[in-house]
C-alpha cells in the first residue's frame, strides 16, 4: 500500500477548473518532483493534498481518507511548507522551529502528547542540527539572510517529524549553495524512510534529486515517471516550449534548459 494515494483529484477555484483529474501514488522513501510551467496548477494541487483547499476526489494517507482525519492527527502525518519565505514576527529561530511541535501539544503548552517534552526537545534539536542551524538558534528571524530563513522554515517542517513533507517551491530565490542544501535535506528525509512532494521550477534540480516526476500542464497531468520518462524532448517542447541539454554525471541523467524551442519560436 502506498504512503499517499490521490485519486481523481480536481480543484475548482471560482469558475475556473485549476486542477483536473490527477492521480498519483507515493511510496515511502520517494521524492516526487511536481513540475510544470507557471499557472499549471502545481501549488494548487499541493494545497489540495495538504487539505488547505476544497477539492473533489480522494486523498488517502496510509489507506485512510485525509478528509476524515482530525486536524492535529493530520498535522502529525503531513507537514506543509508554503511558498512565501516570510516570517511574520521576528521571533527566535529555536522558537520558530518549536512551532512544528504544535500537533503534539495541547492547549497553551508546548509538550504533553506521547513522549512529551523530551521527545519535543529531541525533535527540535535534530531539526536544528540537520538544517545546520544549531549555532543560529538564538538569533531572531528578522536578522537572517533569505537562505538562512529558508533553512529555518524547512527545519520547522522537519521538527514535525511527519512521514510526508509537501514543499511548495522551497528553493525559489535561493543561491545555488542553499538550493543544494535544501534539496539535500529533503532527500535525506526520504532516505530516512519519509516521503516528499516538491514543487520545482528548476528542471536541473528536479532531474538531479527526484526519483520520480509529475509534469502538469493547464491543471492536467501530462507525464509521470522517472526523469528519463518525463523530461523527454517532446514533453519539454510541448509543455514548456524549450530545448534542453542532456547529460549523465556519475550515472545520473540530468538536463539543463538551454533555448526556446526552435519550432515554436519560428511561429
Amino acid at each position: 500500500m502506498s504512503l499517499l494515494s490521490v485519486q481523481a483529484l480536481a480543484v475548482q477555484l471560482g469558475a475556473r477548473a485549476v486542477v483536473k483529474d490527477v492521480d498519483l501514488h507515493l511510496d515511502a522513501s520517494e521524492l516526487l518532483g511536481l513540475i510544470g510551467p507557471n499557472g499549471a496548477g502545481k501549488s494548487t494541487l499541493l494545497k489540495a493534498i495538504a487539505q488547505l483547499l476544497p477539492y473533489r476526489g480522494l486523498v488517502q494517507l496510509d489507506g485512510h481518507p485525509l478528509r476524515r482525519l482530525g486536524a492535529r492527527a493530520r498535522a502529525r502525518r503531513m507537514a506543509y511548507l508554503s511558498q512565501d519565505n516570510q516570517v511574520h514576527w521576528p521571533i527566535r529561530v529555536e522558537e520558530l522551529v518549536a512551532l512544528g511541535r504544535h500537533p503534539y501539544g495541547s492547549g497553551w503548552s508546548g509538550g504533553g502528547h506521547g513522549g512529551g517534552r523530551a521527545r519535543d526537545l529531541a525533535a527540535i534539536e535534530a531539526a536544528l542540527r540537520a538544517a545546520d542551524l544549531w549555532t543560529l538558534r538564538e538569533r531572531r528571524a528578522d536578522q537572517l539572510s533569505g537562505g538562512e530563513r529558508a533553512r529555518v522554515r524547512l527545519a520547522r517542517v522537519l521538527a514535525v517529524q511527519a512521514p510526508l513533507i509537501l514543499a511548495d517551491e522551497p528553493v525559489a530565490a535561493l543561491d545555488p549553495r542553499h538550493q543544494l542544501d535544501v534539496m539535500d535535506l529533503l532527500h535525506s528525509h526520504c532516505a530516512g524512510g519519509g516521503a516528499a512532494i516538491v514543487v520545482l521550477h528548476d528542471l536541473t534540480l528536479a532531474s538531479r534529486f527526484c526519483e520520480r516526476l509529475l509534469l502538469l500542464d493547464q491543471g492536467r497531468p501530462v507525464a509521470a515517471g522517472t526523469v528519463g520518462e518525463v523530461l523527454t524532448v517532446a514533453n519539454l517542447r510541448r509543455v514548456y516550449g524549450i530545448e534542453a541539454i542532456r547529460g549523465t554525471h556519475q550515472g545520473q541523467d540530468y538536463i539543463v534548459p538551454w533555448a526556446r524551442d526552435a519550432v515554436q519560436a519560428g511561429n
Partner: protein, 351 residues
C-alpha cells in the same frame, strides 16, 4: 550540511528552548501588575481629601474610619477599576488583533467596534432614553458594539481573508462615524449636543460601582476568549497556510478574536466613551519583552493597558487645567504622534 548527529545532546534549558505559551508573558505581566497596584493605591489616595497609603488600605479593607471607607470605595474605587477594565480590554484586544492581522498597526478602533458603540450611545442621548434609567446608555452602547460585531462576522465569514476584515472594519467605522455626525447634526438643542460630545470624548470619571458591575462580566468573558487564542496567534507567525497545516482553525481563531474584542471593548466603551490608541501603543511597547511572540504578548498587554489608562487618568487629575481634560482626548494626543512614528518607521523598513 550534516544530517542529525548522534553525539550526546547538550540538552538546553527546557523552558528556554520550548517555551510555554504564556510563560515569559506571565513574568512580565506580574512585574507590570505590581506597578499597577502601586499606581492604583496612589490614585485612590489622590483627591479633594488626600489620603496616605495606610488610610487608603484601611478604607479599602473596611478597617479604617467610615468616612475613608466611603471616599475610597464609593468615589475613587470605581474610577480605578474602570481604568483597569478599559485598559485591559483595549491592550489585550490590540495585541490579539495585531497578531491575527499580523500587522503592528491594528487596534480595536480599526474594526469599528468603538465607533459603533459610540453611535449606540449617541442615539440613546438623541431619543432621550438616558433619562429612563442608568442602564440605558451602556445598554445602547453595547447594542451598537454587538450589531457591529455581527456585521463583521457576516462580512468576513466563510474563508475570507484578513484584508476583507480590515476593509469591513474601515467601512463599518466610517458608517458609524457618519451616522454619529448625522445624529449630532439633527440634535434638537445645544445641551444634548454637549452631552453627546462630552460622552464621545471618553472619561472614566464620575462612575459608580454599578457601572463596574455591569461591564465586568462582558470584559471577563471577552478576555477569556482572547486568551484562548494565544497559541494559534503565535502559530500564525508562519503564515495562514502553514498554521492551518499545523492544525489551527482560522475560522475559530477569527471568531475568538473578533468576539473577544467586541465583548470586552464594546462593554467598556459603552460606559466610558471612546478612548483610542491604547490598544495600538501598549502591545508595541511590550513586544520586545516577550521576544515578539504574539501569544505571550496578550497578558502583559492587558496589564500594561490598565497601567497606561490609569497613568493617563492620574495625569489628567494632577494637571491644573481650566476644564478637566477628558481621557479620550489625552490618549489621542499622546497616541496619534506615536502612530505617525510607527508609520514612518515601517516606511523605512519596507522597500
Amino acid at each position: 550540511m550534516t544530517a542529525a548527529t548522534t553525539q550526546p545532546m547538550a540538552v538546553p534549558d527546557p523552558a528556554h528552548t520550548l517555551p510555554v505559551e504564556l510563560g515569559v508573558g506571565v513574568l512580565t505581566a506580574t512585574l507590570l501588575a505590581l506597578s499597577l497596584v502601586s499606581l492604583s493605591l496612589v490614585s485612590l489616595g489622590l483627591g479633594a481629601a488626600p489620603l496616605g497609603w495606610g488610610e487608603v488600605l484601611g478604607g479599602l479593607l473596611g478597617t479604617g474610619p467610615e468616612g475613608h471607607q466611603l471616599i475610597v470605595r464609593q468615589i475613587r474605587l470605581p474610577r480605578v477599576l474602570l481604568a483597569w477594565l478599559l485598559g485591559a480590554s483595549l491592550g489585550m484586544s490590540g495585541a490579539a488583533l495585531q497578531g491575527l492581522l499580523r500587522n503592528p498597526l491594528a487596534e480595536p478602533g480599526l474594526l469599528g467596534i468603538s465607533a459603533s458603540a459610540g453611535l449606540g450611545a449617541v442615539l440613546a442621548f438623541y431619543f432621550g432614553l438616558t433619562a429612563l434609567s442608568l442602564w440605558t446608555l451602556p445598554a445602547a452602547g453595547m447594542t451598537g458594539a454587538l450589531i457591529a460585531t455581527l456585521l463583521l462576522y457576516l462580512l468576513t465569514r466563510g474563508g475570507s481573508s484578513n484584508l476583507t476584515l480590515i476593509l469591513a472594519g474601515i467601512a463599518l467605522s466610517s458608517l458609524a462615524g457618519a451616522l454619529t455626525s448625522l445624529v449630532l447634526n439633527l440634535a434638537p438643542n445645544p445641551a444634548s449636543v454637549q452631552d453627546m460630545v462630552l460622552w464621545l470624548l471618553g472619561s472614566i470619571a464620575d462612575h459608580s460601582l454599578a457601572d463596574v458591575r455591569l461591564v465586568l462580566p462582558f470584559v471577563a468573558v471577552g478576555l477569556a476568549l482572547l486568551l484562548a487564542s494565544a497559541r494559534a496567534l503565535t502559530l500564525l507567525t508562519l503564515g495562514e497556510a502553514e498554521a492551518t497545516s499545523l492544525g489551527v482553525s482560522l475560522a475559530r481563531l477569527r471568531v475568538l478574536v473578533i468576539a473577544g474584542s467586541a465583548l470586552a471593548v464594546g462593554a467598556c466603551v459603552s460606559v466610558t466613551g471612546t478612548v483610542g490608541f491604547v490598544g495600538l501603543v501598549v502591545p508595541h511597547l511590550l513586544r520586545a519583552l516577550v521576544r515578539h511572540r504574539p501569544g505571550r504578548l496578550l497578558l502583559p498587554s492587558a496589564v500594561g493597558g490598565a497601567l497606561l489608562v490609569l497613568a493617563a487618568d492620574l495625569a489628567i487629575r494632577l494637571l491644573q487645567t481650566p476644564q478637566q481634560l477628558m481621557l479620550g482626548v489625552v490618549t489621542a494626543l499622546v497616541g496619534a504622534p506615536f502612530f505617525l512614528v510607527l508609520v514612518l518607521r515601517s516606511r523605512q523598513v519596507l522597500p
